[in-house]
């Protein structure tokens, strides 16, 4: 079984462990993830903040390449890339004049036929149906599932889960043997792209998230976005500074948590790459 795979820039660099865990999990379930040949950066936040046409043309090129490669479905683990690709599909389908302008630059054919899956949809469709009997080390901990912004908003375009108190990650973690807690910061922004240019804001926003998770007894925070992971993990010093105390709760990608539950090797899942030691 082969699926298209768009890692995006983060998974190749600063969030390498996310890619490792996705690929390890896919391999364990006999799924071949075929990377889109010669893929480019989707433009992330920078493109849509500065230049509308650019912000649509870059993802359009990615989708055209996938089409050219004969891929009907691609999995996009990064929530930001998932958002950009889905929004681009939506905008170009809605406005044919815009589509013509944007795809001229690409010089590739674009029909918008590729189906874009986020990591949760990928897990739900291809991993969970075969999970029966494979949970050898249940992830027996209290977890705070953190969705961030771009997985669930705007609902009209993404049509995924629900905007308030989403449950898709919680359900996955239940199946992995964990106890997801009800908490108040599931979908509050972590500070996103301000990580470098305004780190203090990240300290505050991510600090509120970690603080609430800690107050409610979470032993781990589960994420599905490399940006969120980076802010909650790599920027832990800023968070601790905002909270006025040192908080040790580790942050795991959903694929790492499920990988652990099905008995995959910790190194294969990249857990040693985290800034906050993963003790669970």
């Amino acid at each position: 079984m082969t699926l298209g795979f768009y890692p995006g820039c983060s998974l190749k660099g600063s969030s390498r462990e996310y890619a490792e865990s996705v690929l390890a999990l896919a391999k364990a379930f006999d799924i071949n993830l075929e990377e889109i040949t010669d893929w480019n950066c989707c433009g992330a936040t920078a493109a849509h903040n500065m230049n509308k046409e650019l912000s649509l043309a870059l993802p359009a090129r990615i989708l055209s390449l996938a089409e050219k490669q004969g891929l009907t479905e691609i999995v996009v683990p990064c929530a930001a890339c998932y958002s950009r690709l889905t929004v681009t599909k939506h905008e170009l389908a809605k406005d044919p004049a815009l589509k013509a302008v944007v795809t001229v630059a690409n010089d590739l054919e674009y029909t918008g036929s590729v189906n874009v899956l986020n990591i949760v949809q990928f897990l739900d469709k291809y991993i969970i149906p075969n999970l029966e009997g494979r949970v050898v080390k249940p992830f027996d901990h209290k977890v705070a599932c953190y969705y961030g912004c771009l997985l669930v908003r705007p609902h009209e375009i993404l049509n995924f889960d629900r905007e308030e108190d989403p449950q898709s990650l919680d359900v996955l973690m239940l199946k992995a043997g964990a106890t997801p807690i009800d908490w108040a910061f599931k979908t509050e922004c972590c500070g996103a792209g301000l990580s470098v240019s305004r780190t203090s804001s990240v300290g505050r926003l991510s600090g509120r998230i970690v603080g609430d998770a800690k107050d409610r007894g979470a032993e781990a925070i589960i994420v599905a976005c490399p940006m969120c992971h980076s802010n909650l993990d790599m920027r832990r010093d800023s968070i601790n500074s905002y909270l006025g105390e040192k908080v040790d709760i580790p942050v795991l990608y959903i694929t790492q948590a499920i990988g652990l539950a099905v008995g995959l090797d910790r190194k294969a899942l990249g857990l040693q790459r985290h800034f906050v030691k993963v003790t669970v």
Binding site: C149, E188, S197
Partner: protein, 190 residues
């Protein structure tokens, strides 16, 4: 809600916003729910509902302030405002438009220097390689902002964890990507 079969042309910045984003400032009844839920609202000079009000007035002085505001740059496009707005006003889309216009007209707030520098460094990085080269991004960003000491300690920590690539990844069709940049930059001066 009234149908849009007949409406008088909206003047000024509000009219431009409507033309490019379908956001009609007159729909906003200033309930403030967007500002209440905005995570960055306390760092903004004008929270989102106030920006909407400024656009509603059609006053060129206020419109200028909007383009020169810090709000539009510190906005994270987290989409929380749009998700909760009772009038379904697409504020994030409007913010994107205001940002682009603000930079093109050289009105970007000076406090947003670092934020804009980061965006520019990011885009410059992918313009030439097709994919993000983090070290390149950092170097370019520090050159633009002169924040040389920031996050200096971070680089070796990342490298130790295998999170920082020394060598950039170059895609094959770099000219294709460069062409995309060229074409989209024709109108803009980014």
């Amino acid at each position: 809600m009234s149908s849009d079969t007949h409406h008088s042309k909206i003047s000024g910045l509000g009219g431009e916003v409507f033309e490019h984003t379908e956001v009609k400032a007159s729909h906003c009844y200033q309930c403030g729910k967007c500002s209440a839920g905005c995570p960055l609202s306390e760092e903004m000079d004008y929270p989102p509902s106030v920006i909407m009000r400024m656009l509603q007035t059609g006053d060129p002085v206020l419109e200028d302030k909007v383009l020169r505001s810090f709000s539009i740059w510190v906005c994270l496009t987290c989409e929380m405002c749009f998700a909760r707005c009772p009038m379904s006003i697409d504020i994030p889309k409007m913010m994107d438009f205001l940002r682009e216009k603000s930079v093109n007209e050289k009105k970007a707030n000076s406090k947003a220097k670092e934020i804009i520098a980061f965006h520019r460094s990011f885009l410059d990085s992918i313009k030439y390689t097709g994919r993000l080269y983090e070290i390149g991004l950092f170097v370019d960003y520090k050159a633009r902002t002169l924040r040389i000491l920031d996050d200096l300690a971070l680089a070796p920590k990342m490298m130790k964890r295998g999170k920082l690539n020394i060598i950039p990844e170059l895609i094959k069709d770099r000219s294709g990507v460069a062409a995309i940049f060229r074409k989209s930059n024709k109108k803009n001066k980014n």
